[in-house]
Amino acid sequence: MPTGEAAPDIQSQSGASSVSYEGATKRYGSSGAFAVDHLTLEVPAGEICVLVGPSGCGKTTAMRMVNRTVEMTEGDVLVGGQSVHDREPAQLRREIGYVIQQIGLFPHRTIAENIGAVPQLLGWKKDRTRARTTELLELIGLDPELGDRYPAQLSGGQQQRVGVARALAADPLVMLMDEPFGAIDPINRERLQNQFLRLQAEIQKTVLFVTHDIDEAIKMGDRIAILREGGKVEQYATPAEILMAPATEFVEDFVGADRALKRLALMRVSDIDLWEAPLAHVGQATAEVRAKLADPDVEVPYPLLVDSERRPLGWLSARDLEAETVPSAPDSPLGPLLDRDDVMRDALADLLQGEAQYAAVVDHAGRIDGVLSVEIISEFLASPQAKTEEHSAVERPHG
Protein backbone atom coordinates (compact mmCIF):
# COMPACT_ATOMS: atom_id res chain seq x y z
CA MET A 1 0.00 0.00 0.00
CA PRO A 2 1.35 3.38 -0.87
CA THR A 3 1.71 5.65 2.07
CA GLY A 4 1.84 9.31 2.75
CA GLU A 5 5.61 9.55 2.95
CA ALA A 6 5.78 11.79 -0.12
CA ALA A 7 4.17 14.65 1.76
CA PRO A 8 4.81 18.02 0.24
CA ASP A 9 5.32 21.06 2.43
CA ILE A 10 1.62 21.04 2.93
CA GLN A 11 1.62 22.34 6.45
CA SER A 12 3.90 25.31 6.10
CA GLN A 13 1.01 27.70 6.46
CA SER A 14 -1.04 25.57 8.80
CA GLY A 15 -1.92 25.72 12.42
CA ALA A 16 -3.80 23.86 15.08
CA SER A 17 -5.99 25.15 17.86
CA SER A 18 -6.46 23.90 21.36
CA VAL A 19 -9.92 22.74 22.37
CA SER A 20 -11.22 23.37 25.89
CA TYR A 21 -14.42 21.99 27.30
CA GLU A 22 -15.67 24.16 30.13
CA GLY A 23 -18.50 22.46 31.94
CA ALA A 24 -20.04 21.48 28.62
CA THR A 25 -23.37 19.80 29.27
CA LYS A 26 -26.08 18.26 27.13
CA ARG A 27 -29.41 17.21 28.61
CA TYR A 28 -32.37 15.87 26.78
CA GLY A 29 -35.55 17.61 27.86
CA SER A 30 -35.59 20.38 30.41
CA SER A 31 -34.77 18.14 33.35
CA GLY A 32 -33.94 15.02 31.39
CA ALA A 33 -31.03 12.65 31.53
CA PHE A 34 -27.51 13.88 30.96
CA ALA A 35 -25.93 12.91 27.67
CA VAL A 36 -22.81 14.84 28.63
CA ASP A 37 -22.44 15.95 32.23
CA HIS A 38 -20.34 19.06 32.91
CA LEU A 39 -17.43 17.97 30.78
CA THR A 40 -14.26 19.89 31.48
CA LEU A 41 -11.09 18.96 29.71
CA GLU A 42 -8.33 20.60 27.76
CA VAL A 43 -6.92 19.22 24.52
CA PRO A 44 -3.59 20.89 23.72
CA ALA A 45 -3.04 22.02 20.14
CA GLY A 46 -1.56 19.36 17.91
CA GLU A 47 -2.54 16.34 20.02
CA ILE A 48 -4.91 13.47 19.43
CA CYS A 49 -7.47 13.21 22.21
CA VAL A 50 -9.50 10.02 22.11
CA LEU A 51 -12.96 10.02 23.63
CA VAL A 52 -13.68 6.40 24.49
CA GLY A 53 -16.41 4.60 26.36
CA PRO A 54 -19.33 2.21 26.01
CA SER A 55 -22.32 3.13 23.87
CA GLY A 56 -24.48 5.77 25.47
CA CYS A 57 -21.55 7.43 27.25
CA GLY A 58 -22.02 10.64 25.27
CA LYS A 59 -18.67 10.52 23.47
CA THR A 60 -20.11 11.40 20.07
CA THR A 61 -22.35 14.06 21.60
CA ALA A 62 -19.32 15.57 23.33
CA MET A 63 -17.38 15.59 20.07
CA ARG A 64 -20.22 17.19 18.15
CA MET A 65 -20.41 20.09 20.60
CA VAL A 66 -17.17 21.37 19.10
CA ASN A 67 -18.67 22.09 15.67
CA ARG A 68 -22.13 22.73 17.10
CA THR A 69 -23.79 19.87 15.29
CA VAL A 70 -24.99 19.29 18.84
CA GLU A 71 -25.95 22.38 20.81
CA MET A 72 -24.94 22.46 24.46
CA THR A 73 -27.55 22.89 27.17
CA GLU A 74 -25.02 24.73 29.31
CA GLY A 75 -21.28 25.31 29.53
CA ASP A 76 -18.93 26.20 26.73
CA VAL A 77 -16.33 24.86 24.35
CA LEU A 78 -13.44 27.06 23.34
CA VAL A 79 -11.63 26.46 20.06
CA GLY A 80 -8.37 28.34 20.00
CA GLY A 81 -9.58 30.30 23.02
CA GLN A 82 -12.76 31.47 21.33
CA SER A 83 -16.20 30.30 22.44
CA VAL A 84 -18.05 28.31 19.79
CA HIS A 85 -21.20 30.16 20.86
CA ASP A 86 -19.74 33.33 19.37
CA ARG A 87 -19.35 31.71 15.98
CA GLU A 88 -21.84 31.28 13.18
CA PRO A 89 -22.21 27.46 12.97
CA ALA A 90 -21.63 27.12 9.21
CA GLN A 91 -18.51 29.35 9.38
CA LEU A 92 -17.19 27.49 12.42
CA ARG A 93 -17.66 24.12 10.75
CA ARG A 94 -15.69 25.13 7.67
CA GLU A 95 -12.65 25.52 9.95
CA ILE A 96 -13.14 22.12 11.57
CA GLY A 97 -12.51 18.86 9.72
CA TYR A 98 -15.23 16.27 10.13
CA VAL A 99 -14.91 12.53 9.49
CA ILE A 100 -17.66 10.05 10.32
CA GLN A 101 -17.83 6.27 10.42
CA GLN A 102 -20.18 6.05 7.44
CA ILE A 103 -17.67 8.27 5.61
CA GLY A 104 -20.49 10.34 4.10
CA LEU A 105 -18.83 11.02 0.76
CA PHE A 106 -21.26 12.62 -1.68
CA PRO A 107 -22.17 9.78 -4.07
CA HIS A 108 -23.04 12.21 -6.86
CA ARG A 109 -19.74 14.04 -6.79
CA THR A 110 -16.37 12.85 -8.00
CA ILE A 111 -13.55 12.19 -5.57
CA ALA A 112 -11.94 15.52 -6.52
CA GLU A 113 -15.23 17.36 -6.03
CA ASN A 114 -15.70 15.67 -2.67
CA ILE A 115 -12.26 16.71 -1.48
CA GLY A 116 -12.84 20.21 -2.83
CA ALA A 117 -16.19 20.60 -1.07
CA VAL A 118 -15.07 22.83 1.79
CA PRO A 119 -12.71 24.96 -0.39
CA GLN A 120 -15.70 25.47 -2.68
CA LEU A 121 -17.81 26.63 0.28
CA LEU A 122 -15.00 28.99 1.23
CA GLY A 123 -14.96 30.41 -2.28
CA TRP A 124 -11.47 29.31 -3.29
CA LYS A 125 -10.45 29.79 -6.90
CA LYS A 126 -10.78 26.67 -9.04
CA ASP A 127 -7.02 26.40 -9.68
CA ARG A 128 -6.21 26.55 -6.00
CA THR A 129 -8.82 23.91 -5.16
CA ARG A 130 -7.54 21.64 -7.93
CA ALA A 131 -3.94 21.97 -6.78
CA ARG A 132 -4.95 21.28 -3.21
CA THR A 133 -7.00 18.23 -4.23
CA THR A 134 -4.06 16.72 -6.10
CA GLU A 135 -1.77 17.44 -3.16
CA LEU A 136 -4.15 15.71 -0.74
CA LEU A 137 -4.66 12.67 -2.96
CA GLU A 138 -0.89 12.24 -2.98
CA LEU A 139 -0.72 12.81 0.75
CA ILE A 140 -3.18 9.98 1.44
CA GLY A 141 -1.42 7.74 -1.06
CA LEU A 142 -4.03 7.68 -3.81
CA ASP A 143 -3.33 8.12 -7.49
CA PRO A 144 -4.48 11.67 -8.42
CA GLU A 145 -6.13 10.13 -11.47
CA LEU A 146 -8.70 8.62 -9.12
CA GLY A 147 -9.97 12.18 -8.65
CA ASP A 148 -12.29 11.75 -11.62
CA ARG A 149 -13.94 8.63 -10.24
CA TYR A 150 -17.08 8.48 -8.17
CA PRO A 151 -17.06 7.19 -4.56
CA ALA A 152 -18.84 3.95 -5.57
CA GLN A 153 -15.82 3.07 -7.71
CA LEU A 154 -13.43 3.04 -4.73
CA SER A 155 -12.90 0.40 -2.05
CA GLY A 156 -14.08 1.06 1.49
CA GLY A 157 -10.55 1.76 2.66
CA GLN A 158 -9.89 4.18 -0.19
CA GLN A 159 -13.19 5.94 0.51
CA GLN A 160 -12.24 6.36 4.15
CA ARG A 161 -8.93 7.91 3.16
CA VAL A 162 -10.77 10.28 0.84
CA GLY A 163 -12.99 11.15 3.81
CA VAL A 164 -9.89 12.12 5.78
CA ALA A 165 -8.50 14.10 2.83
CA ARG A 166 -11.79 15.94 2.46
CA ALA A 167 -11.72 16.88 6.12
CA LEU A 168 -8.16 18.19 5.71
CA ALA A 169 -8.86 20.11 2.52
CA ALA A 170 -9.16 23.62 3.91
CA ASP A 171 -6.40 23.02 6.44
CA PRO A 172 -8.65 22.97 9.50
CA LEU A 173 -7.52 23.98 12.96
CA VAL A 174 -9.23 20.98 14.53
CA MET A 175 -10.31 17.56 13.24
CA LEU A 176 -13.32 15.68 14.58
CA MET A 177 -13.24 11.96 13.81
CA ASP A 178 -16.21 9.82 14.85
CA GLU A 179 -15.23 6.14 14.73
CA PRO A 180 -13.52 6.84 11.42
CA PHE A 181 -12.18 3.32 10.98
CA GLY A 182 -15.10 1.51 12.62
CA ALA A 183 -16.59 0.12 9.42
CA ILE A 184 -13.30 -1.12 7.95
CA ASP A 185 -12.11 -4.72 8.14
CA PRO A 186 -9.40 -5.39 10.75
CA ILE A 187 -6.45 -5.60 8.33
CA ASN A 188 -7.28 -2.38 6.54
CA ARG A 189 -8.20 -0.69 9.80
CA GLU A 190 -4.70 -1.34 11.11
CA ARG A 191 -3.22 0.10 7.91
CA LEU A 192 -5.45 3.17 8.02
CA GLN A 193 -4.59 3.74 11.68
CA ASN A 194 -0.88 3.54 10.94
CA GLN A 195 -1.23 5.76 7.93
CA PHE A 196 -3.18 8.33 9.90
CA LEU A 197 -0.57 8.33 12.66
CA ARG A 198 2.19 8.93 10.09
CA LEU A 199 0.10 11.69 8.58
CA GLN A 200 -0.55 13.24 11.96
CA ALA A 201 3.18 13.25 12.71
CA GLU A 202 3.50 15.60 9.74
CA ILE A 203 0.40 17.74 9.97
CA GLN A 204 0.04 17.87 13.77
CA LYS A 205 -3.64 18.73 13.90
CA THR A 206 -5.65 18.86 17.07
CA VAL A 207 -7.80 15.75 16.74
CA LEU A 208 -10.84 14.67 18.72
CA PHE A 209 -11.20 10.99 17.97
CA VAL A 210 -14.21 8.98 19.11
CA THR A 211 -14.11 5.20 19.43
CA HIS A 212 -15.58 2.46 21.60
CA ASP A 213 -12.48 0.32 21.13
CA ILE A 214 -9.95 0.73 23.94
CA ASP A 215 -7.18 -0.84 21.85
CA GLU A 216 -7.73 1.76 19.15
CA ALA A 217 -7.80 4.47 21.81
CA ILE A 218 -4.48 3.31 23.23
CA LYS A 219 -2.95 3.16 19.80
CA MET A 220 -4.22 6.47 18.46
CA GLY A 221 -4.37 8.71 21.51
CA ASP A 222 -1.84 11.14 22.91
CA ARG A 223 -4.45 11.44 25.62
CA ILE A 224 -7.52 9.37 26.36
CA ALA A 225 -10.71 10.51 28.04
CA ILE A 226 -12.67 7.52 29.31
CA LEU A 227 -16.37 8.32 29.60
CA ARG A 228 -19.12 6.30 31.21
CA GLU A 229 -22.90 6.27 30.89
CA GLY A 230 -24.39 9.65 31.69
CA GLY A 231 -21.54 11.53 30.09
CA LYS A 232 -19.06 11.64 32.97
CA VAL A 233 -15.31 11.52 32.49
CA GLU A 234 -13.78 8.76 34.60
CA GLN A 235 -10.18 9.45 33.68
CA TYR A 236 -8.33 11.77 31.35
CA ALA A 237 -4.68 10.85 30.97
CA THR A 238 -2.07 9.48 28.63
CA PRO A 239 -2.49 5.86 27.50
CA ALA A 240 0.43 4.71 29.65
CA GLU A 241 -1.00 6.37 32.76
CA ILE A 242 -4.40 4.84 32.17
CA LEU A 243 -2.87 1.39 31.79
CA MET A 244 -0.54 1.74 34.74
CA ALA A 245 -2.89 3.47 37.12
CA PRO A 246 -6.58 3.17 36.28
CA ALA A 247 -8.29 5.87 38.33
CA THR A 248 -11.49 3.94 39.04
CA GLU A 249 -12.88 0.46 38.96
CA PHE A 250 -14.83 1.41 35.84
CA VAL A 251 -11.64 2.33 34.02
CA GLU A 252 -9.97 -0.85 35.22
CA ASP A 253 -12.84 -2.94 33.86
CA PHE A 254 -13.05 -0.99 30.66
CA VAL A 255 -9.34 -1.25 29.99
CA GLY A 256 -9.57 -4.98 30.57
CA ALA A 257 -7.72 -7.60 32.60
CA ASP A 258 -5.02 -7.75 29.95
CA ARG A 259 -3.91 -4.19 30.43
CA ALA A 260 -0.38 -5.32 31.25
CA LEU A 261 -0.21 -6.82 27.78
CA LYS A 262 -1.67 -3.61 26.39
CA ARG A 263 1.13 -1.73 28.07
CA LEU A 264 3.54 -3.89 26.17
CA ALA A 265 1.87 -2.66 23.00
CA LEU A 266 2.93 0.86 23.94
CA MET A 267 6.57 -0.07 24.56
CA ARG A 268 9.46 -0.85 22.31
CA VAL A 269 12.18 -3.36 23.05
CA SER A 270 14.61 -0.48 23.52
CA ASP A 271 12.51 0.85 26.43
CA ILE A 272 13.53 -2.04 28.69
CA ASP A 273 16.93 -2.97 30.17
CA LEU A 274 18.20 -5.90 28.16
CA TRP A 275 20.49 -8.63 29.37
CA GLU A 276 23.99 -8.98 28.11
CA ALA A 277 24.93 -12.27 26.49
CA PRO A 278 28.42 -13.70 26.71
CA LEU A 279 29.67 -13.30 23.14
CA ALA A 280 31.81 -15.80 21.28
CA HIS A 281 33.61 -15.46 17.95
CA VAL A 282 34.40 -18.18 15.45
CA GLY A 283 37.82 -19.66 16.13
CA GLN A 284 38.06 -18.20 19.61
CA ALA A 285 39.40 -20.54 22.27
CA THR A 286 36.50 -22.17 24.08
CA ALA A 287 38.35 -21.78 27.37
CA GLU A 288 37.83 -18.02 27.20
CA VAL A 289 34.13 -18.50 26.57
CA ARG A 290 33.83 -20.97 29.45
CA ALA A 291 35.52 -18.46 31.70
CA LYS A 292 32.89 -15.84 30.82
CA LEU A 293 30.13 -18.31 31.64
CA ALA A 294 31.68 -19.04 35.02
CA ASP A 295 31.26 -15.41 36.04
CA PRO A 296 28.55 -15.41 38.75
CA ASP A 297 27.05 -12.18 37.32
CA VAL A 298 26.37 -13.68 33.95
CA GLU A 299 22.71 -13.18 33.02
CA VAL A 300 22.43 -15.53 30.06
CA PRO A 301 23.81 -19.02 30.57
CA TYR A 302 24.51 -19.60 26.86
CA PRO A 303 27.17 -17.95 24.75
CA LEU A 304 26.01 -16.19 21.63
CA LEU A 305 28.10 -16.70 18.52
CA VAL A 306 28.62 -13.49 16.54
CA ASP A 307 30.54 -12.69 13.37
CA SER A 308 33.26 -10.08 13.02
CA GLU A 309 30.60 -7.33 12.67
CA ARG A 310 29.01 -8.49 15.93
CA ARG A 311 26.03 -9.86 14.03
CA PRO A 312 24.51 -12.87 15.86
CA LEU A 313 24.88 -16.30 14.22
CA GLY A 314 23.51 -18.74 16.80
CA TRP A 315 23.74 -20.07 20.30
CA LEU A 316 26.59 -22.32 21.46
CA SER A 317 25.66 -25.48 23.36
CA ALA A 318 27.70 -27.24 26.03
CA ARG A 319 28.78 -29.72 23.35
CA ASP A 320 30.09 -26.88 21.14
CA LEU A 321 32.24 -25.74 24.05
CA GLU A 322 33.83 -29.18 24.42
CA ALA A 323 35.93 -28.46 21.31
CA GLU A 324 39.21 -26.51 21.44
CA THR A 325 37.95 -23.57 19.47
CA VAL A 326 34.50 -22.12 18.80
CA PRO A 327 32.98 -23.85 15.73
CA SER A 328 31.67 -21.87 12.79
CA ALA A 329 28.36 -23.74 12.79
CA PRO A 330 26.75 -23.52 16.20
CA ASP A 331 24.72 -26.37 17.61
CA SER A 332 21.55 -24.35 18.33
CA PRO A 333 19.93 -22.09 15.76
CA LEU A 334 19.60 -18.42 16.51
CA GLY A 335 15.84 -18.57 17.07
CA PRO A 336 13.83 -15.35 17.13
CA LEU A 337 15.81 -12.26 16.18
CA LEU A 338 14.37 -8.97 17.43
CA ASP A 339 14.94 -5.37 16.46
CA ARG A 340 15.40 -2.64 19.07
CA ASP A 341 12.41 -0.86 17.56
CA ASP A 342 10.05 -3.81 17.70
CA VAL A 343 6.90 -3.31 19.73
CA MET A 344 7.26 -5.17 23.00
CA ARG A 345 4.04 -7.14 22.59
CA ASP A 346 5.20 -8.45 19.21
CA ALA A 347 8.59 -9.32 20.70
CA LEU A 348 6.88 -11.36 23.41
CA ALA A 349 4.79 -13.09 20.78
CA ASP A 350 7.96 -13.96 18.84
CA LEU A 351 9.54 -15.41 21.95
CA LEU A 352 6.50 -17.53 22.74
CA GLN A 353 6.03 -18.68 19.17
CA GLY A 354 9.70 -19.54 18.78
CA GLU A 355 9.46 -21.55 22.03
CA ALA A 356 12.61 -19.72 23.01
CA GLN A 357 13.81 -18.58 26.41
CA TYR A 358 16.06 -15.91 24.92
CA ALA A 359 16.07 -13.82 21.84
CA ALA A 360 18.90 -11.76 20.44
CA VAL A 361 18.12 -8.06 19.93
CA VAL A 362 19.94 -6.20 17.20
CA ASP A 363 20.26 -2.55 16.20
CA HIS A 364 19.62 -1.04 12.78
CA ALA A 365 22.88 -2.41 11.41
CA GLY A 366 22.05 -5.89 12.62
CA ARG A 367 24.69 -5.78 15.39
CA ILE A 368 23.93 -7.41 18.72
CA ASP A 369 22.44 -5.05 21.26
CA GLY A 370 21.40 -7.42 24.02
CA VAL A 371 19.16 -10.30 24.88
CA LEU A 372 15.48 -10.26 25.70
CA SER A 373 13.96 -13.04 27.75
CA VAL A 374 10.50 -13.90 28.91
CA GLU A 375 11.84 -13.44 32.42
CA ILE A 376 12.77 -9.80 31.82
CA ILE A 377 9.25 -9.09 30.60
CA SER A 378 7.52 -10.81 33.47
CA GLU A 379 9.80 -9.09 35.97
CA PHE A 380 8.97 -5.80 34.38
CA LEU A 381 5.24 -6.46 34.54
CA ALA A 382 5.51 -7.56 38.17
CA SER A 383 7.52 -4.52 39.20
CA PRO A 384 5.79 -1.94 41.41
CA GLN A 385 6.12 0.52 38.54
CA ALA A 386 3.84 -1.60 36.42
CA LYS A 387 1.31 -1.98 39.26
CA THR A 388 0.04 -5.26 38.06
CA GLU A 389 0.52 -7.30 41.24
CA GLU A 390 -3.14 -8.16 41.65
CA HIS A 391 -3.33 -9.73 38.21
CA SER A 392 0.17 -11.05 37.90
CA ALA A 393 -0.81 -14.72 38.03
CA VAL A 394 -3.07 -14.27 35.05
CA GLU A 395 -0.94 -11.85 33.18
CA ARG A 396 2.36 -13.57 33.24
CA PRO A 397 2.36 -15.39 29.98
CA HIS A 398 3.88 -18.48 31.47
CA GLY A 399 5.31 -19.79 34.75
Binding site: Y98, G104, F106
Partner: protein
Protein backbone atom coordinates in the same frame (compact mmCIF):
# COMPACT_ATOMS: atom_id res chain seq x y z
CA UNK B 1 -68.36 4.31 -24.15
CA UNK B 2 -71.95 4.30 -25.27
CA UNK B 3 -73.28 5.82 -22.05
CA UNK B 4 -70.37 8.21 -21.92
CA UNK B 5 -70.99 9.51 -25.35
CA UNK B 6 -74.65 10.17 -24.71
CA UNK B 7 -74.00 12.29 -21.63
CA UNK B 8 -71.72 15.06 -22.75
CA UNK B 9 -72.69 15.53 -26.33
CA UNK B 10 -74.98 18.37 -25.48
CA UNK B 11 -72.11 20.19 -23.84
CA UNK B 12 -69.41 19.21 -26.23
CA UNK B 13 -71.43 19.50 -29.34
CA UNK B 14 -71.25 23.23 -29.82
CA UNK B 15 -67.55 23.41 -30.39
CA UNK B 16 -66.84 19.93 -31.49
CA UNK B 17 -69.45 19.80 -34.14
CA UNK B 18 -67.03 20.75 -36.83
CA UNK B 19 -64.65 18.01 -35.79
CA UNK B 20 -67.00 15.14 -35.71
CA UNK B 21 -65.95 12.89 -38.45
CA UNK B 22 -67.42 12.90 -41.83
CA UNK B 23 -66.16 9.69 -43.18
CA UNK B 24 -65.07 10.35 -46.63
CA UNK B 25 -62.90 7.55 -47.58
CA UNK B 26 -65.41 5.06 -48.04
CA UNK B 27 -63.83 1.70 -48.73
CA UNK B 28 -64.70 0.47 -45.28
CA UNK B 29 -68.01 2.34 -45.00
CA UNK B 30 -70.57 0.56 -42.89
CA UNK B 31 -68.38 -2.39 -41.99
CA UNK B 32 -67.99 -2.23 -38.22
CA UNK B 33 -66.38 -5.66 -38.23
CA UNK B 34 -63.49 -4.18 -40.14
CA UNK B 35 -61.06 -3.33 -37.32
CA UNK B 36 -58.74 -0.95 -39.11
CA UNK B 37 -59.36 0.70 -42.44
CA UNK B 38 -56.06 1.65 -44.05
CA UNK B 39 -57.67 3.44 -46.92
CA UNK B 40 -59.58 5.70 -44.62
CA UNK B 41 -56.54 6.31 -42.42
CA UNK B 42 -54.45 7.31 -45.42
CA UNK B 43 -57.02 9.76 -46.63
CA UNK B 44 -57.78 11.32 -43.25
CA UNK B 45 -54.46 11.41 -41.43
CA UNK B 46 -54.25 15.21 -41.82
CA UNK B 47 -57.11 15.84 -39.45
CA UNK B 48 -55.08 14.52 -36.49
CA UNK B 49 -52.40 17.21 -36.74
CA UNK B 50 -54.09 20.02 -34.86
CA UNK B 51 -55.58 17.82 -32.11
CA UNK B 52 -52.17 16.23 -31.57
CA UNK B 53 -50.51 19.61 -31.16
CA UNK B 54 -53.30 20.72 -28.83
CA UNK B 55 -52.80 17.63 -26.70
CA UNK B 56 -49.02 18.09 -26.63
CA UNK B 57 -49.50 21.63 -25.45
CA UNK B 58 -51.99 20.62 -22.76
CA UNK B 59 -49.63 17.93 -21.48
CA UNK B 60 -46.54 20.13 -21.47
CA UNK B 61 -48.21 23.03 -19.67
CA UNK B 62 -49.96 20.77 -17.15
CA UNK B 63 -46.78 18.87 -16.33
CA UNK B 64 -44.75 22.04 -15.82
CA UNK B 65 -47.41 23.57 -13.55
CA UNK B 66 -47.97 20.30 -11.70
CA UNK B 67 -44.24 19.81 -11.21
CA UNK B 68 -43.64 23.32 -9.91
CA UNK B 69 -46.53 23.10 -7.44
CA UNK B 70 -45.83 19.53 -6.27
CA UNK B 71 -42.08 20.17 -5.98
CA UNK B 72 -42.66 23.29 -3.90
CA UNK B 73 -45.11 21.43 -1.67
CA UNK B 74 -42.65 18.55 -1.26
CA UNK B 75 -39.83 20.91 -0.23
CA UNK B 76 -42.19 22.56 2.24
CA UNK B 77 -43.15 19.17 3.69
CA UNK B 78 -39.45 18.25 3.83
CA UNK B 79 -38.78 21.13 6.20
CA UNK B 80 -42.06 20.88 8.09
CA UNK B 81 -42.76 17.21 8.53
CA UNK B 82 -46.22 17.71 9.96
CA UNK B 83 -47.38 19.04 6.59
CA UNK B 84 -46.78 15.75 4.90
CA UNK B 85 -49.91 13.75 5.90
CA UNK B 86 -52.39 16.53 5.01
CA UNK B 87 -50.61 17.18 1.71
CA UNK B 88 -50.54 13.49 0.84
CA UNK B 89 -54.24 13.24 1.68
CA UNK B 90 -55.12 16.40 -0.23
CA UNK B 91 -53.32 15.46 -3.42
CA UNK B 92 -54.66 11.93 -3.02
CA UNK B 93 -58.23 13.19 -2.97
CA UNK B 94 -57.62 15.22 -6.13
CA UNK B 95 -56.12 12.14 -7.74
CA UNK B 96 -59.16 10.06 -6.82
CA UNK B 97 -61.73 12.29 -8.54
CA UNK B 98 -62.90 10.56 -11.71
CA UNK B 99 -61.45 12.56 -14.56
CA UNK B 100 -64.62 13.28 -16.50
CA UNK B 101 -66.35 14.48 -13.33
CA UNK B 102 -63.43 16.76 -12.67
CA UNK B 103 -63.71 18.43 -16.06
CA UNK B 104 -67.46 18.74 -15.78
CA UNK B 105 -67.26 20.07 -12.22
CA UNK B 106 -64.92 22.84 -13.31
CA UNK B 107 -67.06 23.89 -16.26
CA UNK B 108 -69.44 26.15 -14.29
CA UNK B 109 -66.44 27.85 -12.65
CA UNK B 110 -63.84 28.26 -15.34
CA UNK B 111 -65.98 27.65 -18.38
CA UNK B 112 -65.17 25.72 -21.51
CA UNK B 113 -61.54 26.51 -21.98
CA UNK B 114 -58.03 25.25 -22.17
CA UNK B 115 -57.53 26.56 -18.61
CA UNK B 116 -60.19 24.21 -17.30
CA UNK B 117 -58.38 21.25 -18.79
CA UNK B 118 -55.01 22.42 -17.53
CA UNK B 119 -56.31 22.87 -13.97
CA UNK B 120 -57.64 19.35 -13.88
CA UNK B 121 -54.64 17.77 -15.61
CA UNK B 122 -52.14 19.56 -13.34
CA UNK B 123 -54.10 18.53 -10.28
CA UNK B 124 -53.78 14.89 -11.30
CA UNK B 125 -49.98 15.05 -11.43
CA UNK B 126 -49.60 16.45 -7.89
CA UNK B 127 -49.98 13.19 -5.98
CA UNK B 128 -47.45 11.24 -8.05
CA UNK B 129 -44.82 13.98 -8.21
CA UNK B 130 -45.25 15.01 -4.57
CA UNK B 131 -44.91 11.44 -3.40
CA UNK B 132 -41.84 10.75 -5.51
CA UNK B 133 -40.00 13.92 -4.55
CA UNK B 134 -40.73 13.18 -0.89
CA UNK B 135 -39.51 9.60 -1.17
CA UNK B 136 -36.43 10.76 -3.09
CA UNK B 137 -35.49 13.27 -0.41
CA UNK B 138 -36.12 10.67 2.30
CA UNK B 139 -33.79 8.21 0.59
CA UNK B 140 -30.78 10.52 0.58
CA UNK B 141 -28.22 8.78 2.84
CA UNK B 142 -28.15 10.41 6.28
CA UNK B 143 -24.35 10.14 6.21
CA UNK B 144 -24.20 12.47 3.20
CA UNK B 145 -26.38 15.16 4.79
CA UNK B 146 -24.61 14.72 8.13
CA UNK B 147 -21.21 15.27 6.59
CA UNK B 148 -22.59 18.13 4.47
CA UNK B 149 -23.78 19.96 7.59
CA UNK B 150 -20.63 18.99 9.47
CA UNK B 151 -18.42 20.58 6.83
CA UNK B 152 -20.35 23.83 7.04
CA UNK B 153 -23.07 23.78 4.40
CA UNK B 154 -26.11 25.88 5.21
CA UNK B 155 -29.52 24.19 5.12
CA UNK B 156 -30.16 25.69 1.70
CA UNK B 157 -26.83 24.38 0.40
CA UNK B 158 -27.53 20.92 1.83
CA UNK B 159 -30.87 20.92 0.00
CA UNK B 160 -29.69 22.14 -3.41
CA UNK B 161 -26.20 20.64 -3.50
CA UNK B 162 -26.78 17.30 -1.83
CA UNK B 163 -30.38 16.31 -1.26
CA UNK B 164 -32.03 17.34 -4.53
CA UNK B 165 -29.25 16.00 -6.80
CA UNK B 166 -29.35 12.67 -4.97
CA UNK B 167 -33.16 12.57 -5.21
CA UNK B 168 -33.04 13.16 -8.99
CA UNK B 169 -33.72 9.53 -10.01
CA UNK B 170 -36.92 9.41 -7.92
CA UNK B 171 -37.98 12.89 -9.00
CA UNK B 172 -37.60 12.04 -12.68
CA UNK B 173 -39.25 8.68 -12.03
CA UNK B 174 -42.29 10.54 -10.70
CA UNK B 175 -42.27 12.88 -13.68
CA UNK B 176 -42.25 9.92 -16.06
CA UNK B 177 -45.30 8.28 -14.50
CA UNK B 178 -47.11 11.61 -14.25
CA UNK B 179 -46.35 12.47 -17.86
CA UNK B 180 -47.53 9.17 -19.31
CA UNK B 181 -50.77 9.27 -17.33
CA UNK B 182 -51.35 12.94 -18.22
CA UNK B 183 -50.89 12.16 -21.90
CA UNK B 184 -53.61 9.51 -21.62
CA UNK B 185 -55.99 11.58 -19.51
CA UNK B 186 -55.54 14.63 -21.75
CA UNK B 187 -57.57 12.78 -24.34
CA UNK B 188 -60.56 13.58 -22.12
CA UNK B 189 -59.84 17.32 -22.25
CA UNK B 190 -62.42 17.41 -25.01
CA UNK B 191 -65.04 17.40 -22.26
CA UNK B 192 -63.63 20.68 -21.01
CA UNK B 193 -63.80 22.08 -24.50
CA UNK B 194 -60.02 22.14 -24.79
CA UNK B 195 -59.74 20.07 -27.92
CA UNK B 196 -57.05 17.45 -28.19
CA UNK B 197 -57.21 13.94 -29.59
CA UNK B 198 -60.43 13.27 -27.73
CA UNK B 199 -62.19 15.17 -30.46
CA UNK B 200 -61.26 12.39 -32.82
CA UNK B 201 -62.83 9.70 -30.67
CA UNK B 202 -65.92 11.51 -29.57
CA UNK B 203 -68.94 11.35 -31.77
CA UNK B 204 -71.50 8.67 -31.91
CA UNK B 205 -70.56 7.62 -35.37
CA UNK B 206 -67.08 6.60 -34.27
CA UNK B 207 -68.37 4.13 -31.77
CA UNK B 208 -69.05 1.77 -34.57
CA UNK B 209 -65.88 2.71 -36.40
CA UNK B 210 -62.77 1.63 -34.49
CA UNK B 211 -60.22 2.92 -36.98
CA UNK B 212 -60.07 6.45 -35.61
CA UNK B 213 -59.95 5.14 -32.04
CA UNK B 214 -56.98 2.97 -32.95
CA UNK B 215 -55.24 5.90 -34.62
CA UNK B 216 -55.73 8.02 -31.50
CA UNK B 217 -54.37 5.22 -29.33
CA UNK B 218 -51.37 4.99 -31.63
CA UNK B 219 -50.66 8.73 -31.46
CA UNK B 220 -51.10 8.77 -27.67
CA UNK B 221 -48.69 5.87 -27.26
CA UNK B 222 -46.15 7.46 -29.56
CA UNK B 223 -46.43 10.66 -27.56
CA UNK B 224 -45.92 8.73 -24.32
CA UNK B 225 -42.81 7.01 -25.68
CA UNK B 226 -41.47 10.33 -26.93
CA UNK B 227 -41.87 12.11 -23.57
CA UNK B 228 -40.52 9.12 -21.69
CA UNK B 229 -37.48 9.00 -23.92
CA UNK B 230 -36.82 12.69 -23.31
CA UNK B 231 -37.09 12.26 -19.54
CA UNK B 232 -34.89 9.16 -19.58
CA UNK B 233 -32.27 11.08 -21.55
CA UNK B 234 -32.38 13.91 -19.03
CA UNK B 235 -31.97 11.41 -16.21
CA UNK B 236 -29.06 9.74 -17.97
CA UNK B 237 -27.11 12.97 -18.25
CA UNK B 238 -28.23 14.34 -14.89
CA UNK B 239 -27.02 11.32 -12.89
CA UNK B 240 -23.61 10.29 -14.24
CA UNK B 241 -22.62 8.78 -10.89
CA UNK B 242 -25.24 6.06 -11.23
CA UNK B 243 -23.47 4.69 -14.27
CA UNK B 244 -20.15 4.60 -12.47
CA UNK B 245 -19.60 1.35 -10.67
CA UNK B 246 -16.52 -0.30 -9.31
CA UNK B 247 -14.44 -1.42 -12.24
Amino acid sequence: MASLAALPLAVVGQVEKGFIQKRTGSACQGKPSHLFCFDWARENIDRYGTPTLQQLELVAISIVIGFVVAFALALLAHRRRWLRPPLLAGTGILYAIPSISFFLLLLPITGRSRETAIIALSAYTLQIIFRNVTVGLDNVPASATDSARGMGMTERQVLWRVEIPLATPEIIGGLRIATVSTIAIATLAVFAGAGGLGTQILGEANLTFPTTILIVIGIVMAMAFFFDAILLTIQYYATPWRRARAS
